[in-house]
Every structure is written in structure tokens, then in C-alpha cells.
């Protein structure tokens, strides 16, 4: 019987998280276009429905009915699988994120996490690096030189920044002493947020996250000006939409993980009932997402060699130094 309850609970959670994430992804595309529009002193999409609110639906219908082209010389199976890998990896990240405090329903303790893994953070990094395969395989299988260039850049950039990304959250791990994301949040409750102890770690994490999800200033794999479109140049219709959705799902996931690790997750300035604690989580994630759009409207794209130099010669030593200093302080204070 316990197994049945567990299954029902998990399925409900999976469906809820999936629905919410996909809805957020759809409206994030609109939000991004709107915010970028206002930054450029124009309105952005405002024709479809009130304030353009039906734009994502129109876009969805449009991409759905577009012709699905597969290049004649493309590597067919890989070409089809690549977007699936991308979207799967992006959405699977949400499995371990604790959205809220534990609640009691029908004498059962239900946590706002799909899977309360003890190796949550490790899982996050494993799945996040899986997302690269989608991009690399897409560029490789398209039989297109721009696609290949984009994939090459993506591979080099994402792998180098992944190291700094993992190192930037090491400080958090050292402080909280656990890989379980739920426990990491638990330890931050009550103005004990990790950003207060790891301000540089947070900044490094944000920078590496930008590189990890291929966003401006690090949007090398799809540099429009040089690579036409980069790795997804040959993709059309829903396959392209999958990449697009994966990109935004990844963006939300990265912000959610930053919230979990550094901003205290569902902990807020004043306590909400446990069933509503996800509101704090959503608010913090939304602020980070806004920042990600805001910086896209501000910063130009870096040159490829500058990105690599920044990653290896600057970010990597600094993240290592951050770990070193954190360790030193912990030893001195006898934590």
C-alpha cells in the first residue's frame, strides 16, 4: 500500500512540476521578448491578445505546423535524438530541486521535491553536463559547417566552464557538509543564507551558469553574427522548438539551483505556511531570471578566445582561491 501512495504522490508531483515548468518556459519566451523590448525603449510583442499574452500559444501553433526538414546528408538518428537529449536534460534538473517546505497531507509527510536524493547536487551536475550532448550532437549530425563550428565552441566552452561551475559551489558544500539539496536549504533557514558566507561563490556561479546555458555574453555556440545560428542551424519546426524550450528550461533550472544553493531556497524574510513556502522560492528564482534577461539586454558577446581565457586563467584560479579561503576560515573558526 505504501508503494501505491508513493507512486501516486510521485506521479502527481512529476505532472505538476512538468506542467508548471513548461508553462513557465512558454511565458519566459514572452517575458524575455517583452523585457528586452522595454530595455530597447519599445513594447515588444503586444498584438496577440492583451499585452501579447497569447503570443507563446501562437508561437507554439506556428512551430507545430512548420515543415520538419531533415537535411539529406544529416546523421538521421542523431539528428532526431539531439533535441530530445537537450530537453530531457534540462527538465530532469527539476527532479531534485526543493520547491518548498515539507507539508503534512493525509498523515503523510510530503516534501516539495520529486526525488529527495542524498546526492542531489552531484545529480544536478551530472544531468547539466548531459545537456551538452544535445548541443554537440545537434551540431555534429546536421552536416553543416556552421552547426559544427557551433558544436565545437559549445563543447569547448561548456566543458571549461563546467569545472569552474562545480568549483564555485564547493564553498557551499563545505559549509553545509551535504549534497542533499533539501538539507542545504534546511541549513540556510533563518537569515543564514549561503550568499552571506559565499558572496564570491555566488558571483562565480552566476557567471559560470551564464556560460553553461549559452547565454549572452557567452552565447558562442549560437553566435548569430558569425555562425548564422550555430548548432541549431538546420533545425526547424518542433525540433527547433525543443531546443528553444530546453534553453529556457535550463535557464529556469540554473536560477532555481542558484536559489537553492545560495539564496536560501524557500526561506523568506517572514514565514509563510509550509504549503505556501514555494512562493519565496518562486520569487527569488524570478528575480534571478529577470537578472539573466536584463544582462542579456546589456552585455555584448565576448570573443571566443576571450571567453576561454576568462574561463581558464581567471575564473578557475579565483574559484580555487575561493575554496581555499573558505577552508582557511573554516579551520580558523574551528567549524
Amino acid at each position: 500500500m505504501e508503494l501505491v501512495y508513493f507512486l501516486i504522490e510521485t506521479i502527481v508531483k512529476v505532472v505538476a512540476v512538468f506542467a508548471v515548468v513548461m508553462g513557465m518556459v512558454a511565458y519566459l519566451t514572452l517575458a524575455e521578448r517583452k523585457i528586452l523590448g522595454y530595455i530597447q525603449v519599445r513594447y515588444g510583442p503586444n498584438r496577440v491578445g492583451p499585452f501579447g499574452l497569447f503570443q507563446p500559444i501562437a508561437d507554439g501553433i506556428k512551430t507545430f505546423f512548420k515543415e520538419d526538414v531533415v537535411p539529406a546528408r544529416a546523421d538521421q538518428p542523431l539528428f532526431v535524438i539531439a533535441p530530445m537529449i537537450s530537453i530531457t536534460a534540462a527538465i530532469a534538473l527539476f527532479a531534485v530541486i526543493p520547491f518548498g517546505e515539507q507539508i503534512e497531507i493525509f498523515d503523510r509527510t510530503v516534501s516539495f521535491t520529486i526525488a529527495n536524493l542524498d546526492i542531489g547536487l552531484l545529480y544536478v551536475f551530472a544531468i547539466a553536463s548531459l545537456g551538452e550532448y544535445g548541443i554537440v550532437l545537434a551540431g555534429w549530425s546536421s552536416y553543416n559547417k556552421y552547426g559544427l563550428m557551433g558544436a565545437l565552441r559549445a563543447a569547448a566552452q561548456m566543458i571549461s566552464y563546467e569545472i569552474a561551475l562545480a568549483l564555485s559551489v564547493m564553498g557551499v558544500l563545505m559549509i553545509s557538509g551535504t549534497l542533499n539539496l533539501g538539507e542545504i536549504v534546511q541549513k540556510q533557514v533563518g537569515w543564514n543564507w549561503n550568499i552571506l558566507y559565499q558572496p564570491f561563490g555566488f558571483i562565480f556561479y552566476i557567471i559560470c551558469a551564464l556560460a553553461e546555458i549559452n547565454r549572452t555574453p557567452f552565447d558562442m555556440p549560437e553566435a548569430e553574427a558569425e555562425l548564422a545560428c550555430g548548432f541549431n542551424i538546420e533545425y526547424s519546426s518542433m525540433k527547433f522548438a525543443l531546443f528553444f524550450m530546453a534553453e529556457y528550461a535550463h535557464l529556469i533550472a540554473v536560477c532555481a539551483i542558484a536559489t537553492t544553493l545560495f539564496l536560501g531556497g524557500w526561506d523568506g524574510p517572514f514565514n509563510l505556511p509550509p504549503a505556501l513556502s514555494w512562493i519565496w522560492f518562486a520569487a527569488k528564482t524570478a528575480i534571478l531570471v529577470y537578472f539573466f534577461i536584463w544582462e542579456r539586454g546589456t552585455f555584448p558577446r565576448l570573443r571566443y578566445d576571450q571567453i576561454m581565457r576568462f574561463g581558464w586563467k581567471f575564473l578557475l584560479p579565483l574559484t580555487l582561491a575561493n575554496i581555499f579561503v573558505t577552508g582557511l576560515i573554516m579551520v580558523v573558526r574551528g567549524m
Partner: protein, 157 residues
């Protein structure tokens, strides 16, 4: 005083560059945030229209005379001066001795809206109006004949 070692100098310089670049980034972010909260300059076209310049040269129209017909006396000066030769005129002499345009057509596909016809006209019959919403599906529909030129005249205020 002992000179600073090269390493120390390099370190201090690096910190300086770092601080300067963070300030530069923050400056950019501040500007875009200010722009985000400023009013968009977009004029939402079909609902709101932009005022055209006072001497705007839009679609042509005919001035009417006291009989309500065109003022045109079919002198042919506009035909002569038109640089793109887009005006077709067939003149007719009435019993009273007045000349009158039997056919007057402006092919607006060829027209460059230079306004020379309006300047050449001795009786100020042909003029360029303020209208700019002038599209159609076929080329033939873009040829303005006498009736359409009269209809294009701006409404009396």
C-alpha cells in the same frame, strides 16, 4: 625604500582592472535598467498615427472648381515636366472654348512623388496630399484616374 616586486605590482594592477571592469559592467546594467523603466517611444501604428510633415508629399488629388469638377485645364505642363512620365492626359475642348481633361491618369507605380506636377500646374489643380496609406493588390489598381483623384481631395474642415 624597497621597490615593489613585480608580482605584487601585477597583483595590484589586476585588482584595479577587476574593480574597474565591475564598475563598467554595473554602469551598463544601470543604463539598461533606466531604459527598462522609461516609456517606450513606439507609436502603435494602426491605433495611433504619426503626424506627417507640413509639406509632406503623399498621394495626389485634384482641386475642385465652383462646378465641383476638376480645376484642371488640360494644359499639359504636368505631363511635360513629370520626370518619370507617369501622367497620361487626353485633352478635350468644350463648346465654350475651355479645355478639359478627357482622361487624366497618374500611374503611381512609376510616380516618384517629387511634386513637380503640383509646382508646374498654372491653376493649382493637381496637388500632393498627406495620405500615405496607399496599397493595393494589383498594379492596375494603383493607377489614379480622374474620379479617384477627385475623391482623394482632403475633406473640407
Amino acid at each position: 625604500m624597497r621597490a615593489m616586486s613585480k608580482g605584487t605590482w601585477w597583483f595590484i594592477k589586476g585588482i584595479g582592472v577587476l574593480v574597474a571592469s565591475v564598475f563598467a559592467l554595473a554602469k551598463g546594467l544601470r543604463l539598461t535598467l533606466a531604459m527598462f523603466f522609461s516609456r517606450p517611444v513606439t507609436i502603435c501604428y494602426p491605433e495611433h498615427k504619426r503626424e506627417v510633415a507640413p509639406r509632406w508629399r503623399g498621394v495626389h488629388y485634384f482641386e475642385r472648381n465652383e462646378r465641383g469638377d476638376t480645376c484642371c485645364v488640360a494644359c499639359g505642363l504636368c505631363v511635360a515636366i513629370c520626370p518619370s512620365q507617369c501622367i497620361r492626359l487626353v485633352a478635350l475642348e468644350m463648346d465654350s472654348g475651355e479645355r478639359y481633361p478627357e482622361i487624366y491618369e497618374i500611374n503611381t507605380v512609376r510616380c516618384i512623388y517629387c511634386g513637380m506636377c503640383a509646382e508646374a500646374c498654372p491653376v493649382n489643380a493637381i496637388k500632393l496630399g498627406k495620405g500615405y496609406e496607399f496599397v493595393d493588390y494589383r498594379r492596375a489598381d494603383l493607377v489614379l484616374d480622374k474620379g479617384r483623384l477627385l475623391a482623394n481631395a482632403p475633406k473640407e474642415v
